[in-house]
């Protein structure tokens, strides 16, 4: 590897980036907008569920119950006047998400059957489960035995007592955006040389494989880091996400992660011949696994065994733990070395594969 030649290629690549302001604009705007929308819009708890009530009891007791449901943020209650409307109709026209039926016997004496019937549109299983839990909570607090007097359970949340979603999304977004820029952009940039035929020009120039690879990578590392700091800054200023750990540790591990992502991108680019294919492969090999299999949104330990094994080769899995650890828990470099070592191992393997496959020859 020759530093001067690497510099030359890096400069060329830098000009490619800087002279394409539209791409650059998107690369800067996307994380900002994404973070803002994630921060404000993403809520896992469900509110304002449309609950239709069929009240066959018409008693003070049933009206009291309906008021209890309406008083919570969870439900928007609509009492049905017509009994000819079936739940099926309500669900199919999406006028209700759940239907509560209060039987005529509801106002009767204690001891008789006073069962309420609750029908839930369960097409979204997770939402349905939550709706059921909310209803059960309301019923239990009204009519159930108060077990709190027997046993006092105190839950306590460490690190994120107010359960702010930004604590969750800012680290995850940094991991996603870094992968997108590193893997997607590098894989495309080499495929573009192939597609436009300019790779031939590189081949006849006195550069080695490692010169090309290093020169191609360097500008994207910088770009990726700029985006990472941008997200971090917005997350800390706008959403008040803490940064408890050391900045040096963050930088150290982020560099390892960026290298791993770049190596994956290089690997893709050695296989893909056109930009379209490179893009689709990079999407399939890096972006989707980062979103789906890193534990960013969906907990890894709830996945089937075989998918859990796949997550071990997803770099974001390790980086997410690192970055959540550093930012929110204040972990030290030493406490996170397992994950760092795993990332380094992934980069080595990907780099070996890429270097072996990337040939300075035409087919």
């Amino acid at each position: 590897m020759n530093l001067k030649r690497v510099n030359g290629i890096a400069l060329k690549e830098y000009n490619h980036i800087i002279r394409d302001p539209r791409t650059l604009l998107i690369l800067i705007l996307m994380p900002i907008l994404q973070l803002t929308i994630f921060g404000y819009a993403m809520r896992f708890e469900i509110r304002h569920v449309k609950l239709a009530v069929r009240d066959y009891s018409h008693s003070p007791a049933s009206q009291d119950l309906i008021r209890k449901f309406g008083a919570t943020e969870y439900f928007t209650v609509q009492v049905l006047n017509s009994y000819s409307v079936t739940p099926q109709m309500l669900f199919n026209t999406r006028q209700a998400h759940a239907v509560l039926t209060i039987p005529p016997s509801f106002a009767a004496e204690k001891g008789t059957d006073r069962s309420l019937q609750l029908l839930i549109d369960a097409s979204d299983a997770n939402a349905a489960q939550l709706v059921l839990t909310y209803c059960q909570e309301i019923i239990a607090s009204e009519y159930g035995p108060d077990l709190r007097r027997v046993l006092d359970v105190r839950p306590k949340l460490l690190y994120n007592p107010d359960l702010k979603s930004a604590y969750f999304f800012v680290p995850g977004l940094i991991a996603t955006i870094l992968v997108m820029i590193c893997a997607l952009l590098t894989s495309i940039s080499i495929a573009r040389e192939k597609e436009l035929g300019t790779l031939e020009q590189l081949l006849v120039s006195p550069v080695t494989v490692s010169d090309i690879l290093a020169g191609k990578i360097a500008p994207y590392v910088v770009l990726a880091l700029v985006d990472a700091f941008l997200i971090l800054g917005i997350g800390m200023l706008l959403f008040r996400v803490p940064f408890l750990g050391s900045f040096a540790a963050f930088l150290f591990y982020t560099l390892i992660y960026v290298v791993a992502a770049l190596c994956l991108g290089l690997m893709v680019s050695t296989i893909a011949k056109t930009q379209q294919v490179a893009m689709m492969m990079a999407l399939g090999m890096t972006l989707l696994p980062t979103l789906m299999l890193s534990g960013f949104i969906f907990p890894i330990r709830s996945m089937p065994w075989i998918l859990q094994q796949v997550t071990y080769i997803v770099p974001a899995r390790y980086f997410l733990l690192i970055i959540r650890g550093i930012m929110i828990k204040g972990n030290t470099t030493l406490e996170l070395w397992h994950s760092g070592a795993a990332l380094a191992a992934i980069s080595c393997v990907a780099l070996l594969v890429a270097a072996r496959r990337f040939k300075l020859k035409l087919q």
Partner: protein, 379 residues
Amino acid sequence: MISFSAIVSFLRKEFLQILRSREMLVMIFVFPIVELLFLGFAVSNEVRHVRLAFLDYDRSAESRELVSAFSSTDRFDIVPAEISDTPYTILQSWRAQAVVVIPAHFGRDLNRLDGPALQIVLDGVDGNTATISSAYCSGIIQSFIRKELKSRDPRLLAMLTGQTLTGGVDLRHRMWFNPDLRSSLFIIPGIVAVLVTITSMLLSAMSLVREKEIGTLEQLMVTPVSKIELLIGKLVPFWLISFVQMAISLVFAFLIFGVRPTGNIPALFLFSNVYLFTTLGLGIFISTWSSSQQQAMFFAWFCMVFMLLLGGMFIPVANMPAAIRAIAAINPMNHFMVVVRELVIKGAGFHELHNEFLILLAFGTVCLGGSVIAFRKRV
């Protein structure tokens, strides 16, 4: 004005171009299946196997029973803790996601009904998991208490709480459409909608820009092919591929997950057709705006991210604040997602979706019409 034979030969060129790229074929036909597998299995907000540690300072028969109540479910995996640990050291080193602290004299206080206390310390880094596991914990503890009190004296509980267990109101629930509460039933129609969008929007935009970037657009310019013919030739293949992809993913959704459209399948294709007008139109629009495939890809990806985030794929639109819900209303994918889900899961009929049909039709007309007018067959 439109020459049929010109379109046919143009179409032949496009199909040859796609069919002769092996990687492209793999991407078009294997990608949906892989995505279906990954998403179908991975996407579930269900929380299981939460690592739970116990700090048992009591070491009585009661505390051991409480621990065993937790170990009998697959929601928690109990991890060992040293006696020198504190909840903080356990969470800080990522050994567990939740810690239950059983104070000394827990068993004694429970027997004397002296209001024993328990503490659950949760790792708030993943707030969603923390909330759900907290709810699971309280559920398990409540049933533990019930069992304990019942085994001593069945009347004890009633006396203590002033109410009987059975005389109170009881809630009987039924889950419609999805009695087993499978997450895949909801996510798979969503994947179908996403796939259709990716193929039609991303690939068509890139394929149009590719001609610009490689310089073959100049060759097309000197041919007598008109703008409309060029667009038809370019878009029809991706329109067809989207349908093929949709069919493939529906077949595999059935084979792998047993998810079968309960509604009218021709209606599903009709709606998709209308939706494709929008996405193909967006594809053309993106291509007029970009001069390289990289630009096109990023622009398309930019649109995709927001369509996905605000499309109800992962997080229900109904949960979002009103301002963001208003933005989501102008997201065509949001409406298409509703249509696909209603048709596949609930077996809705056309008349229940005619609002969505009109909305999608309006989007399609505006997007396709506008972008065809804006498209220039020039360099």
